[in-house]
């Protein structure tokens, strides 16, 4: 009889443990003694951390492209457009332009090293008045209207805004920018040289 009671007690105790064992922690739920349909729910949360970035390329990755226009003597200042002879990672006068970022609307700004005087003649550096060609005589066209270069100017500061992707804060654009010399002014014989810097900024 003693053995019977002891064993019976143990059996009930085990059953009790199965039913009443402490709930494991974390998000948990239980539906006990449900009659009919039962349900229990638990949740898990997710977090994705995405940092901001901005990448911008004009021309060759590892060097500054030197785009050169050799104006025929018979065409100086006659407004005939002069194509580039050398310089450019795609072809003479043609540069790759790429921009990517996830930081909202990007603005591209042009500046130059001419001090507001234009493209300066290197043969007249010691003169009071240096020969100069206005930056407005350098035209840049794009093969993608979603990524155009800002118009060049002697003072610098012109801007362009690449088109965002579907209205989101993301930009992923690629184009080819082609430079030509508009040759609108008769200028003195000289070698004219200048450097343009494009700067991409986020809001």
């Amino acid at each position: 009889m003693h053995t019977f009671i002891k064993l019976l007690f143990n059996a009930i105790t085990l059953a009790g443990i199965m039913v009443l064992s402490p709930m494991a922690m974390g998000e948990s739920d239980q539906d006990n003694a449900c009659a009919g349909s039962c349900s229990a729910q638990a949740r898990v949360a997710f977090t994705i951390n995405v940092p901001g970035f901005l990448r911008f390329q004009v021309g060759s990755l590892a060097s500054i492209d030197d785009v050169t226009f050799n104006v025929p003597a018979n065409n100086v200042g006659d407004a005939s457009v002069v194509m580039a002879n050398i310089g450019g990672d795609v072809a003479a006068g043609i540069l790759t332009a790429k921009i990517a970022g996830n930081v909202g609307q990007i603005t591209i700004t042009e500046t130059n090293n001419g001090g507001g005087e234009g493209i300066l003649g290197t043969g007249t550096m010691m003169q009071v008045t240096q020969n100069a060609i206005p930056y407005t005589d350098i035209s840049c066209s794009s093969n993608d209207s979603d990524l155009v270069a800002p118009s060049l100017s002697d003072s610098g500061g012109n801007t362009s805004t690449p088109t965002l992707q579907g209205g989101s804060g993301v930009t992923q654009r690629s184009a080819e920018w082609t430079y030509t010399y508009l040759n609108t002014t008769v200028v003195e014989q000289d070698k004219y040289s200048g450097q343009v810097t494009y700067t991409a900024t986020d809001p």
Partner: protein
């Protein structure tokens, strides 16, 4: 538990040396149908799986593994004479959202598992995605490792959201 009851019954018969009468064992105090679900580690509150996308890999298609791994355990019980089918579903309808209002759908999240008891898969962005069905009474569990597909460049931000797991039985 069935094995333990069998041993118990045999021990009772042997120890009591009862005459040839039927023995009735009444097990009382157990509930009717019962369901239990646990998602996450020990501790209180909702576990958070975090994905940190390196700046040089945003949207490059290389999956990002989240931490921590998540334990998923489901238990369903009903009487043997009234055995039922339990179903585990997931609600991933509401996408993850940043403070700026940009969203990442849960269809970009998939998981691998420590074994095949609860299958690996990917959220389908619905409110009743079936993950597992099983006949009770059983307890099933395994550990889930979640991955973010990272196939799109998305606006910068911290995106948060929740998935609700539901264990149900008719």
């Amino acid at each position: 538990m069935k094995g333990r009851y069998q041993i118990f019954l045999t021990a009772v018969l042997l120890s009591c040396f009862l005459p040839a009468h039927a023995v009735t064992i009444v097990v009382s105090g157990l509930p009717n149908d019962q369901l239990r679900i646990r998602v996450g580690s020990t501790g209180s509150g909702i576990n958070v799986v975090t994905f940190n996308v390196p700046v040089g890999q945003i949207g490059n298609g290389v999956p990002i593994t989240g931490t921590p791994q998540i334990l998923v355990r489901v238990t369903a019980r009903s009487a043997v004479a009234n055995s039922k089918t339990a179903t585990l579903t997931a609600n991933s309808l509401t996408p993850m959202m940043s403070a700026g209002g940009d969203t990442i759908p849960f269809t970009t999240i998939n998981w691998t598992t420590s074994d095949g008891d609860i299958p690996a898969g990917a959220f389908d962005g619905s409110n009743t995605q079936s993950l597992l069905t099983f006949q009770n009474s059983r307890s099933i569990e395994n550990t889930h490792t979640f991955h973010y597909s990272n196939v799109n460049v998305v606006p910068t931000g911290t995106y948060t959201g929740r998935v609700t797991y539901t264990l149900s039985m008719p």
